[in-house]
Chain length 488, copies 2
């Protein structure tokens, strides 16, 4: 939500007050103990704590929720000792990576210790033969992408915030991004994790095996657990061969529902085997071009579908382009061109939130996901609902994997009715999403922002299983408490 | 282990006695209550219980451990009501699918209720557009494979016991099989699960999405949990396009370590993109041919590598065969031929346990897995260890995914020293496997058979996390107690 209501409002009636009961206090003796563990230079209190640590990219319009103390450990052993201390003293502890999260996951809701993982920023290994990297959680995604590229390899994870986000955060939210159509999401890249448990113990989970039936799979449980089950201190991730060419084609389409039918066909085309199928609606395109002050996607104007694929040669590019054109013949297209400047296209794609915010400051953003074969139906039903409520929207979606970023905007609805109207509309929209086999968050996570909504949508039995894992792993509820779900 | 020591010996010093304390008794009133839930015809006691329910394919040489009552529910609701009753009365409950498990996972170690899922054997949906199937847990893997093939689709999971094993068991053990090189293991096929929790509640976990950051991933936790966390009552699994051609090539090799270097190169060849890379050592080949009484793999004799790949046309087959021959030029090969009769080759592969047992009744079997790029090193070090201990081996492995089935046999070791020698050898072997990033079980699971070994190899922190999930999901420890790990 942008602007979101203040956290206090968001959490009204939530578990804040009751869950805070029983937590220990951050006092001078705790600060001294933390300083002894990580060094005084790496412990900040009071005015030393940057205001930016009180919010993330998704809650920056809120009143910040500052921690009582910020700690910047320099090793796994230091992380473990800090967490063990927090557990003994029952101090809430929230891990923070790049602060680029969009769901408030890194906000220290209950104060306590903010664990800034920024010093754990080393790439430890790049193995070119077996194609994997070992990284610390504070390595920027772009840094790993670049280091892999220098070896002719690809790190496939690619959130739009890749120049600021870090791998620990990507893993904590199971971040998706632009290349999931071909390569999957962060969980598809992660082979192994070193984690510090809530008790301050260190263990390494998983290994780089295709087959493994040796007990429960805990790696996949930690990926996407948003810092509530343990602290990731190291990760082994897959690298892949980097294809010599990966051109972008821009398909201009007059009709969004028909565009989604095309997306389904392209996502399913084994020969084309697209990396990316990104849709940007016509008016979002206009906002991006206005922000830049120049055309980006060429003419004529319409909804833009960015199609990226791999090729070993220019001949293969032409063969695949021919297949793309053949597929596009099944729908009405206004144009199909190869992007002259891919960097410009992707830089524009990464500006979407900013471009929209300049044009339409009042909006509410979604990270919905539905099966690709239900996308056309979803968009049609969403448009019907919007019309009924008098609302409007802008959209930039990872269409090829069904993950739709949609900003709902007031449209014909007067601002005094906006909150109520969008609330009722979204409740109906989520019912549509779930009825199609979709879910609330494709890649941003639940954090604070979607916690109450999730509580309404999730099967109570599933929720209770999740809660029971949280209680089992973190009996004192110190790790990022109040995120994803409330315990009470 | 074949023959394995009797369960009582296997479990001596284990948690059996202590964990049995506190369980309720199966008496006439419980049998009456179960009969009311599922119908008297579907409840068996005493001599009505087939002896076969007391062991699985991996423990059939043991004294059977029979349940007190066998229940054959006909619906999810019936499963839920039976589990709820078992939980209220604290009766151990073990689910059973095809009984083809090799680790004792379906053996009702603590007696109580055996939940036979054989009546839940319907394929509910095959969706050709979105390519998925919905199945009940008692559907045979082969039945689903055949039903998919009729629609031009592939169910990629393929354990060697495919004509007897069922999907519920495949999911419970995260079964692997022959096609994991290209398609992955069972967890890579599973989209969604309906499960009955230990409290007898029903929930559906997961959905068919590429991206999902909506809370913890519980689907992947249930896959491979061997019936200890809940009962799978329905599954949605991926189907794929069925390639028109999938020829098998037989590569005959004189040296096993060199064969593994070839396997690494082939597994990594993007153009060949093999489905299967199966290795069978020379003497196992001889045993298979002796069992059949005829040559199967052609001449000259040597270690056999079965290479299967997909092709759309005979032209593509020839192109890929040329690539295969090119790769094989890097090692000494005795021959490369296209298998005339693929069915015969795979039928022989599926006889390996029988062929070996006829020749070498005293043996101990492994399901080890290492990264493919460490296979050559693993085999070399294993051969060194075997020589040092005077032991011998036979091998039939899913080499392309690093999963090695190895039968250790006495060799030069007198039978009176066999138990002690193989125990010491295996302890060293497992250290090698773990040092290479490998694990104890690639696809069979831990069950009873590997529980004590796992306890020695696993990091205690990881084990405690697993145990804590078990305690959280199943507070009365009724679901398949004593499998994978002991709680106390």
């Amino acid at each position: 939500m942008s602007p979101m209501p203040a956290l206090s409002a968001l959490e009204a009636g939530g578990g804040f007050a009751s869950e805070s009961v029983g937590y220990g206090k951050v006092d001078q003796s705790l600060v001294a103990a933390l300083s002894a563990l990580v060094g005084r230079d790496h412990v900040r209190t009071g005015s030393e704590i940057a205001q930016a640590l009180g919010f993330d990219a998704g809650t920056r319009h809120e009143v910040p929720r500052l921690p009582d103390v910020a700690v910047v450990p320099g090793s796994t052993a230091e992380v473990a000792s800090v967490v063990a201390l927090a557990n003994r003293k029952r101090i809430p502890l929230t891990a923070r990576g790049g602060g680029t999260g969009l769901a408030g996951g890194a906000v220290p809701l209950h104060g306590g210790i903010l664990l800034d993982l920024g010093r754990l920023d080393r790439i430890l290994t790049i193995d070119c033969r077996a194609r994997f990297a070992e990284v610390e959680p504070g390595v920027k995604t772009l840094t790993l992408q670049n280091a892999a590229r220098e070896q002719g390899l690809l790190y496939a994870g690619d959130p739009c915030s890749n120049d600021d986000c870090v791998l620990g955060g990507n893993i904590a939210t199971n971040a998706g991004g632009n290349r999931a159509v071909k390569y999957g999401v962060t969980s598809d890249q992660v082979l192994s994790l070193e984690v510090v448990t809530a008790l301050g113990q260190v263990t390494t989970l998983g290994t780089r095996l295709k087959k493994n039936s040796t007990g429960y799979n805990l790696v996949r449980l930690f990926v996407g657990s948003e810092g509530t089950l343990g602290i990731i201190t190291k990760a082994m991730v897959k690298l892949r061969r980097l294809a010599p060419l990966h051109p972008d084609y821009l398909v201009i389409l007059p009709d969004l529902v028909a565009a989604m039918t095309l997306v389904e066909a392209l996502a399913d085309d084994r020969f084309l085997d697209p990396i990316t199928l990104e849709i940007i609606d016509r008016r979002t395109v206009a906002a991006m071009e206005k922000l830049k002050g120049a055309p980006i996607f060429g003419r004529p104007q319409g909804h833009v579908l960015i199609v990226q694929f791999e090729a070993d040669s220019e001949e293969e590019v032409q063969d695949k382009a021919a297949r793309l054109k053949q597929r596009c013949a099944d729908v009405t297209c206004l144009g199909i061109t190869r992007a002259g400047d891919s960097e410009e296209v992707w830089a524009a794609r990464r500006t979407w939130a900013k471009a929209l915010h300049e044009e339409l400051p009042v909006s509410v953003g979604e990270d919905l996901v539905v099966p690709v074969d239900r996308l056309a139906e979803f968009i049609g039903r969403m448009q019907g609902l919007l019309e009924r409520y008098g609302l409007d929207y802008r959209l930039a979606g990872h269409a090829g994997d069904g993950n739709m970023h949609i900003n709902t905007v007031p449209g014909h609805v007067p601002l005094e009715h906006w909150q109520d109207t969008q609330t009722r509309y979204r409740a109906e929209l989520y019912q549509v999403v779930y009825s199609l086999g979709g879910r609330l968050s494709g890649e941003h996570g639940i954090g604070l922002k979607r916690k109450k909504t999730l509580a309404k949508l999730i099967d109570p039995v599933e929720l209770e299983l999740m809660r029971s894992i949280k209680r089992a792993f973190d009996p004192n509820n110190i790790l990022n408490p109040g995120k994803i779900f409330d315990l009470a």
